[in-house]
Symmetry: C2
Subunit: 114 residues, 2 copies
Amino acid sequence: MSDGNPGIDMAALSALAEPNRMQIVELLREGPLTVGEIAERLGLRQPQASKHLKVLSDSGVVEVKADANRRIYKLRSEPFLTFQSWVKSFRHVWEERFDNLDNYLRELQSKDNQ
Amino acid sequence: MSDGNPGIDMAALSALAEPNRMQIVELLREGPLTVGEIAERLGLRQPQASKHLKVLSDSGVVEVKADANRRIYKLRSEPFLTFQSWVKSFRHVWEERFDNLDNYLRELQSKDNQ
DNA sequence: AAAGAATATTCCTGTAAAGGAATATTTAAA
DNA sequence: TTTAAATATTCCTTTACAGGAATATTCTTT
């Protein structure tokens, strides 16, 4: 991670970087939904909804639960937690802690979490 | 935002959803860099580096400062702060607060910030 | 068993975007 | 004022991917 390897799930990020899929994610905040419900509420055709959900599923953003005829999709927490810790790690950048050694050492003292 | 409008900067998100640009962002954590330095350290050709930096710049992820012959790029904080508040707002989802009315009302009481 | 619902998949097409190479532009240096 | 360095831009080609339409698949219902 101190190499060029980003501490973030690029698959999940790419999946979210598409308006319809972002809308699906926003919709799923309310709770799990079936494909049909998602398609209807977002004005998508069923095949497109399925395709987008597949991308979200493959990248771990959502998970599926089979219920007979239907597939119930819901958000997974893991990618969001990962994203959160990645974003949080930028706090160091804004706080320009490396201006002098004093600040740097002081920062090492304070805890990083939250 | 309670409509389908995501509380996140999609332009910035899309910009980051490209490996080279993500690497540029990771690199700029260390501090501002010129185009040439970025290109060299990431093994990119100069034109590609410029193009990626333009995308990052247009989407507000980075900002430029002209220094004579060179352009010094550095990260902007705003999009990351936006990301952070967006991703934080998912905490509600994982904590399944809407299971029953009691929890729901209790949640309304507690403060949302942080 | 047949018909219908819900979902996934396939094939096709159009388009956005990334890389390569060349060149334009701006500023410094000689 | 010519040359070189740093960066941006343009043009071209290729590729990834999203949408449309049709169809396959799976399960329920009758």
